[in-house]
Amino acid sequence: MSVTILGPLETGGETLPLYSFQVPAGFPSPAADHIEKHISLDELFDIRAPHVYLVKIEGDSMQGIGIYSGDLVIVDRSVYAGHGDIVIAAINGEPVCKRLHMRDNQVVLMSENTRYPARHVMEGDELVVWGVVKYSVRDHEKT
């Protein structure tokens, strides 16, 4: 498993980078010219965008792709869901989190857990895709 270190994180989307250097009376800090803006999780996940929503997941049917019960997912409503996307969708009015399968004239809501069967969307079923899951967040101390 490879890990990429992104750098320091900011607390909120609106904070500006902090230039904490005292104005030096002697030698100027050699790092002063290399300060970059801190990374913000708000920005990375685009959480402040008007089309992005935080949703909490309950249940273990998606744990095969690493979405566990209690996780938060970051959902984008602005994009059209395609084959293979993880979606929040309402099937006959009931909201669910599933993988959307759209091949061979069939629409199927797939779970990522062998204990849950695939849900074929049949004629007479009403499926409304609410949004596409972009990221998920887990509290590793709690779980």
Partner: protein, 426 residues
């Protein structure tokens, strides 16, 4: 080069509060919904499919059973949710247009001047984008003046199925079509009284008003009516408004969740309303010199003794210090309270507002000490970061039993981590 004729759009959310409730409740997509006023008093919003069952303003306790029998679901008003969804809608529209003016929680005027191509198509794009990104349906009215855009929007809503929620009346033929079919009471700014006046003058449709002599209307009524008539003719008199000027008065008034007979809880309520009013005062950076506090019993129940009274309190100097203001307001309650009544409502009104620096200090008069300014800004910062009411006067209880009744309130869904929308994966 000739300046292009201005084009305005009014974008308006359909049954906004009810639509917000549906966003996170897909199971209610086809269930009629009503939203109730503070204290679950009366109906203030209805989804389209609830309209046949219930009138606007109907008292909830009277229609409770009627609603249940017809499968209508009632919600307490959830302003945290509506405010958040409103912000999303407005941000999305603003990103698509050159300039916008938020007119109310669910309406925005937009400047479309100079946008090339088919404006109806552009309106449909706004509508589709807002619907996709928020789940809230909107209507769009497009015209050469704000008053006409409002009327176009009204028509879009009335003829939803035929218009797809977008009506462009920039050309004269469609403008006249709409003017002829709208009553004068449908025109922006024409209230029920004005409607009666105009109808007595045989001005019955919007077209009649457009054809009336604007100068005469100006003399007989007001310059506002004159502008309205000119705007209906397609002459733009109203521009997109800039940010609102600071309010001249600030009011916080609410019904109690139950009738109160003792003075102590009434003082708590007045202190609570004062806390909110003072926050609003500081948010617009004003100071206030006078406060009016009033309390009253219910006024409509013939079996109850009625009492209403108010007191004006003058503060020693223009201030925004909630401590000083709360003390003055609760002392006023001592003067107003009469035992033996069942009180239902209190109100705090901040008057004689001034901007710091705009009034001349009397050389020898007391002014707000600088330490108070500092304490107030720390107070606001703490409450901004940790939530309203985190730091407050001791006289303001956290969860009073006289608080608003909101028994059918949905979660805030988006604004609080502990109330996020939860979706099943099973």
């Amino acid at each position: 080069m000739k300046k292009p004729e201005p084009v305005f759009a009014l974008v308006d959310c359909n049954s906004f509060y009810a639509s917000c409730e549906r966003v996170f409740r897909p199971d209610l997509a086809k269930t009629p919904i009503v939203v109730l006023s503070n204290n679950d008093g009366c109906v203030i919003a209805r989804s389209y499919d609830a309209k046949p069952f219930v009138k606007m303003g109907a008292p909830y306790f009277q229609i409770k059973d009627h609603l249940r029998r017809n499968g209508v679901v009632a919600f307490s008003s959830n302003y945290a949710l509506y405010g958040e969804m409103s912000e999303r809608v407005m941000t999305l529209i603003e990103a698509m247009v050159p300039a916008g003016e938020v007119y109310s929680i669910d309406e925005m005027f937009a400047d479309l001047t100079g946008i090339p191509g088919d404006l109806t198509q552009f309106g449909r794009k706004i509508r589709a984008n807002v619907l996709k990104c928020t789940g809230i349906p909107v209507g769009v009215g497009i015209a050469h003046t704000k008053t006409l855009a409002k009327l176009a929007n009204h028509t879009a809503k009335k003829l939803q199925t035929r218009t797809g929620g977008v009506v462009d009346i920039c050309n004269t033929r469609s403008r006249d079509w709409v003017l002829e079919r709208c009553e004068v009471g449908d025109v922006w700014g024409v209230g029920r009284r004005m409607k009666a006046h105009l109808e007595a003058m045989n001005i019955k449709t919007a077209m009649d008003l457009a054809r009336a002599d604007p100068t005469m209307l100006g003399k007989k009524f007001s310059v506002v009516m004159e502008k309205t008539a000119r705007e209906l003719r397609g002459v733009s008199c109203l521009e997109l408004a800039d940010a609102e000027p600071p309010k001249q008065e600030i009011c916080c008034s609410r019904m109690f969740g139950k009738r109160l007979t003792e003075i102590e809880p009434i003082k708590e309520a007045v202190a609570t309303y004062m806390q909110r009013a003072a926050e609003k005062l500081r948010a617009q950076r004003s100071l206030c010199k006078k406060i009016r506090v009033s309390i009253r019993t219910g006024m409509f129940n013939p079996d109850e003794a009625h009492y209403a009274n108010g007191a004006l309190v003058e503060l020693p100097y223009p201030t925004n210090d909630v401590r000083l203001m709360t003390k003055a307001a609760t002392e006023a309650v001592n003067r107003l309270f009469r035992p033996g009544f069942r009180y239902s409502k209190a109100e705090v009104l901040l008057m004689d507002l001034r901007q710091p620096g705009e009034f001349t200090d009397d050389l020898f008069a007391e002014t707000q000490p600088a330490t108070a300014d500092k304490i107030m800004s720390v107070l606001d910062e703490i409450n901004e970061r940790w939530g309203r009411g985190t730091l407050r006067a001791a006289s303001v209880p956290a969860d009073p039993d006289w608080g608003m009744r909101r028994e059918m309130m949905s979660s805030s869904f988006t604004t609080r981590l502990d109330q996020l929308w939860t979706v099943k994966a099973n």
